[in-house]
């Protein structure tokens, strides 16, 4: 099965990153997978990093903190607060603790399409430079090492089908 495409818009010279993606599951499941810490740990973040959730209280006014650790033991801690949490709308802050004070604001809507759900996420950074740095870190902390992990995960799933 071909995965649904992830659409990302990050116009040069703006502090925005927009992500749109559909999931073949009803909205209550997507909401659960986005708010239950045990489920979040199974998918969020770059693959080659292990994810340790310290706190994940996905309720209006709650906060979260988690640490990604790479294979060299290097730690990347992130934290933020949940401003609004409902099934249709999640608004939260996001901060990489190694760059304190650079906090982005993420607004995520989940559109109920019946047995499908459309995620729309808009992140606003405090400056264009901060946005560009976030894009760059996507590359730096990225990609290649964890191809395997993804392959395993997808292989395991298609094997069960």
């Amino acid at each position: 099965m071909t995965p649904n495409p992830t659409h990302i818009t990050a116009p040069a010279g703006t502090p925005f990153i927009e992500v749109v993606r559909e999931f073949d599951a009803p909205r209550d499941l997507v909401f659960r997978a986005s708010t239950d810490p045990d489920l979040v740990a199974r998918w969020l973040g770059p693959r080659r990093l292990s994810m340790r959730i310290i706190e994940f209280d996905a309720r209006t006014g709650g906060s979260y903190r988690y640490v990604h650790t790479d294979t060299d033991g290097e730690e990347y801690p992130f934290r933020g607060v949940f401003h609004t949490v409902s099934e249709a709308l999640i608004i939260q802050t996001f901060e990489f603790e190694d760059i304190p004070g650079v906090v982005s604001l993420e607004t995520r809507t989940l559109d109920d399409l019946g047995d499908r759900t459309r995620l729309h996420q808009n992140a606003v950074f405090p400056s264009v430079a901060a946005r560009d740095q976030a894009l760059e870190s996507g590359m730096r902390h990225g990609i290649t090492e964890s191809m395997d992990r993804l392959g395993e995960l997808l292989g395991a799933r298609s094997g069960r089908r």
Binding site: I8, A12, G13, A25, R42, P46, L135, E136, G138, L150
Partner: protein, 114 residues
């Protein structure tokens, strides 16, 4: 594809150059074909000298090149350089895509449970 995306200084210059709306408009115009500075200046309420300076910044960033053709010096877009900028965003996209595929898998397992 040229792997200029591995050169952070160059990317810094490219992003800085593209942070300006006039320069983005110039890039958009050049994506349809080469043009002289005079032609590039036409749509803008600023002087030809100012547009020439913007072109200079784009040239420094490696996004455009100027050739000498008698008195005409057409400005050309360098598609490979622009690609190195968009490749950055592509890498970010790849990472997001992989997260989302894992989320797909989580959702599948939740559906099986219920």
């Amino acid at each position: 594809m040229t792997r200029t995306s591995g050169d952070p200084d160059r990317l810094d210059r490219a992003f800085a150059a593209l942070a300006d709306p006039v320069r983005r408009a110039i890039i958009a115009r050049l994506s349809t074909g080469p043009a002289t500075v005079n032609e590039l200046a036409e749509p803008f309420p600023i002087t030809v000298q100012a547009v020439s300076q913007h072109v200079g910044v784009l040239e420094q960033a490696g996004l455009v090149t100027r050739t000498r053709q008698a008195q005409r010096r057409p400005v050309h877009l360098d598609p490979a350089a622009l690609e190195s900028v968009t490749a950055w965003i592509d890498t970010y996209r790849l990472q997001a895509e992989r997260s989302h595929r894992r989320l797909d898998a989580v959702l599948e397992s939740l559906k099986e449970e219920s």
